[in-house]
């Protein structure tokens, strides 16, 4: 298993992270936005694992594990809110949701 340079891993996680951000900003479907957030969290997990491998300390793994549990909780509540907001509307589109403004 060829081990690439640490900076490659960081670059990879950065790219994934910003794909996630792009997903959140550009897509209008709330589910995909949540998936974007999942992407961002996984990107940071990747970086965490790479760093803990580089520094040889398991704290990174613990952190990654915590991030996974938090991501799960967040997904749960996120989906619940999305269901509550959109369960009776025809279109599932974040841009319809603009009562609060000004």
């Amino acid at each position: 298993m060829a081990v690439g340079e640490l900076s490659n891993y960081v670059t990879l996680s950065a790219v994934l992270f910003f794909l996630g951000v792009a997903g959140v900003i550009l897509r209008r479907n709330p589910l995909v936005m949540l998936m974007g957030v999942e992407l961002m969290l996984n990107a940071s997990n990747l970086a965490l694992v790479a760093f803990s491998r580089a520094w040889g300390s398991m704290v990174g793994h613990i952190f990654a594990f915590l991030v996974i549990t938090v991501a799960a909780a967040e997904a749960a509540i996120g989906l619940a809110i999305i269901v509550v907001v959109f369960h009776r509307s025809a279109r599932v589109d974040v841009d319809d949701v603009t009562i609060l403004k000004g």
Binding site: V21, V24, I25, V94, D95, V97, L100, K101, G102
Partner: protein, 645 residues
């Protein structure tokens, strides 16, 4: 607290009584006026009578020369080391006090009759008493500060009295004009006070006159001129005289007391009181002399063009005061004061006589609608005739002695041109006074029928109330002149010796003696009377009097009707520019700069508020974008910091 404040120590109870009685009367009448109505008049008159009596009783105090100083001293209250108020009674102020309280008392009696039936008579007498108090403050003060206080209060009293019938808009405007010009005079005196206090550190007459030598000629001239500004305003000298004719809006007794006898002569008193200052600066004297002469001439000329009987007398007052100022100005103090003394009586008599005529004709003041009153009102004819003879300076009357004394004094003190103007003015005075006499008394009655008989029974007040004071006035009109006969030894000269003794002596022996100059003046006056007779009193002139007077009315030259445009000049030079500046400030500075500025700030703040609120579009993705931009900014900044460090 009050005792400490006023610090009265009763050295001279009589002096204090004379001074404070009128004030007490005024306050009493003010507060209880509406209730006691008619009785208020009697109260006011008795108060004045008491003041006159105490003034008479305090004559010995005034003449007693104690510790090198003539008269009675009464310190009152000190503001600062240099500034304190006190009373001083010496021959000069005694003379004025006697005139004020004496003539004042007579006019009070006269006013009971004149204003009988007026609803606000009590208020009128309150104002009259207040006026006497103010005039006494002015005259009795022992320093410039008290003088200034008196000056202002007298201006206020004249404002009240001119504007007594304040329903009449013309009376309201006249009173305001009189007061504002008076304040202009006050300002002049204040400036003189500042100079004196800055230079000498004290304002009392004694202190100032003792250190006159310390003052440089230029400051001395400045002080004299600024004091003269005060005099010009009060005594209606040329530039600041425009308020006097309008002041005739007030009731006739007011004109008699204030605008003939007392207030307008305050300027004369000031110059007489400050004679050491004037002695020390010759060009100030020259200036004052010239202004006095010009005023006399202008007053006389304007007197020609008037049809209202009171305005004629007003302009004659202005011209006579011009004489006094000229006399006192050039240094002939005793002559000037004598003319004041005489003028006070005969002018009061003329005004009261005119009052009787006006009262009889139901407030008719235009001489063109009078005429032929000789038969109907013999007493008025007597009063007016004696007054006119006195004012023209015919032999037995006081005017002859005082006017000639002034003219001769002017000649003695080396002012030949002023002498010539004085003589010319005497002639014009004779002309317009007799013009008034002939138009009013000679010929047929021109008063419209309705007015005639209505006047007859209007008298509910007894006729003698108005006629007695006039009769009493005739005596001094004739008698005063005799006091001055006898040159240096005359009772008048000896009376004023302690005051004016040290003042400068006449310059050079003159070509002509006093007798010849009085001959010249008398002949010129007779010439004036003759011309007036030919113009107005010849039989055929009397026959077609109405049309002729009408024609004369149209042909009156513009200069005369507009009184040499002084009024418009004053208005144009001072009043309009201030108002224009005010409107300019209101329009541009206030509305555009200040309000505009604040308005822009608030609008700008609100617009900025809206601008920042506009970011809240409500779209979640827009918010996410803003977050992303924020992240980008932070990241960019930190990378740059990281690299450059």
């Amino acid at each position: 607290m009050l005792h400490h404040a006023v610090g009265i120590s009763a050295h001279y109870p009589l002096l204090l009584a004379t001074w404070l009685l009128p004030l007490a009367g005024a306050l009493l009448l003010w507060s209880t006026g509406p209730r006691i109505q008619a009785k208020g008049a009697v109260l006011g008159t008795t108060v004045l009578g008491a003041a006159f009596v105490t003034a008479l009783l305090s004559i010995p105090d005034a003449l007693r020369a104690a510790d090198g100083y003539v008269g009675a001293q009464q310190p009152l209250v000190t503001w600062l080391p240099g500034m304190s108020l006190g009373l001083l009674l010496d021959p000069l102020s005694l003379l004025w006090t006697l005139v004020i309280t004496g003539v004042g008392f007579l006019i009070h009696v006269y006013s009971i009759g004149y204003l009988a039936g007026d609803r606000a008579i009590a208020r009128f007498f309150a104002y009259l008493n207040f006026f006497v108090f103010a005039m006494l403050t002015l005259v009795l003060s022992d320093n410039f500060l008290g003088l200034l206080v008196g000056w202002g209060l007298v201006g206020l009293a004249s404002y009240f009295l001119i504007g007594f019938w304040f329903e009449k808009p013309s009376a309201v405007a006249a009173s305001r004009k009189a007061f504002v010009i008076n304040v202009a005079g006050d300002v002049g005196i204040m400036l003189a006070i500042f100079i004196l206090f800055a230079q000498l550190g004290t304002l009392s007459y004694g202190g100032v006159f003792a250190h006159v030598a310390q003052l440089s000629p230029s400051t001395l001239l400045a002080v004299c001129l600024f004091l003269f500004v005060g005099c010009a305003a009060k005594s209606a000298q040329v530039p600041l005289h425009t308020w006097l004719p309008d002041a005739m809006e007030g009731p006739t007794p007011v004109s008699a007391l204030i605008h003939a006898a007392t207030m307008v002569t305050a300027g004369v008193y000031l110059i007489a009181r400050c004679h050491p200052l004037w002695d020390a600066s010759p060009d100030a004297r020259a200036f004052v002399g010239v202004v006095g002469a010009i005023t006399a001439l202008v007053g006389a000329i304007l007197g020609l063009g008037q049809w209202d009987i009171k305005r004629i007398l007003a302009y004659s007052t202005m011209s006579q005061i011009g004489y006094m100022i000229m006399g006192v100005g050039v240094g002939a103090y005793q002559a000037g004061v004598l003319h004041f003394f005489a003028h006070a009586f005969f002018k009061a008599q003329l005004f009261l006589g005119a009052g009787i005529i006006i009262h009889a004709l139901g407030d008719e003041q235009d001489i063109r609608r009078m005429g032929g009153l000789a038969r109907k009102m013999p007493f008025a004819l007597l009063a007016m005739l004696t007054g006119t003879l006195a004012i023209c300076g015919i032999f037995p009357f006081s005017g002859f002695f005082s006017k000639d004394a002034i003219l001769y004094g002017v000649l003695e003190h080396g002012h030949p041109y002023l002498y010539f103007i004085g003589v010319l003015t005497a002639a014009i005075t004779a002309y317009y006074m007799f013009r008034m006499l002939f138009v009013v008394f000679a010929g047929q009655a021109r008063t419209p029928a309705s007015v005639g008989e209505h006047a007859g029974h209007a008298h509910h007040a007894p006729a003698w109330l108005m006629q007695l004071p006039v009769a009493l006035l005739i005596v001094p009109t004739i008698g005063i002149g005799w006091l001055a006969i006898g040159g240096e030894q005359s009772p008048w000269a000896r009376f004023f010796e302690p005051i004016f003794g040290a003042s400068l002596q006449p310059l050079a022996r003159l070509g002509m003696s006093e007798a010849t100059s009085s001959l010249v003046v008398t002949s010129v006056v007779l010439l004036g009377i003759a011309t007036a007779f030919f113009v107005y009193a010849t039989p055929q002139a009397l026959r077609n009097a109405p049309e002729r007077l009408q024609r004369e009315g149209q042909r009156m030259p513009g200069m005369l009707t507009h009184a040499f445009y002084f009024d418009d000049a004053l208005d144009g030079l001072f009043v309009q520019p201030t108002r224009a500046l005010g409107r300019f400030c209101a329009a541009t500075v206030e509305r555009d700069v200040l309000d505009g500025g604040v308005h822009d700030i608030t609008v700008g703040a609100r617009w900025l508020g809206h601008f920042f609120r506009s970011f809240q579009t409500g779209f979640v993705r827009a918010y996410a974008l803003v977050l992303a931009l924020g992240v980008a900014a932070f990241a960019a900044y930190y990378v740059l910091v990281g690299v450059t460090r």
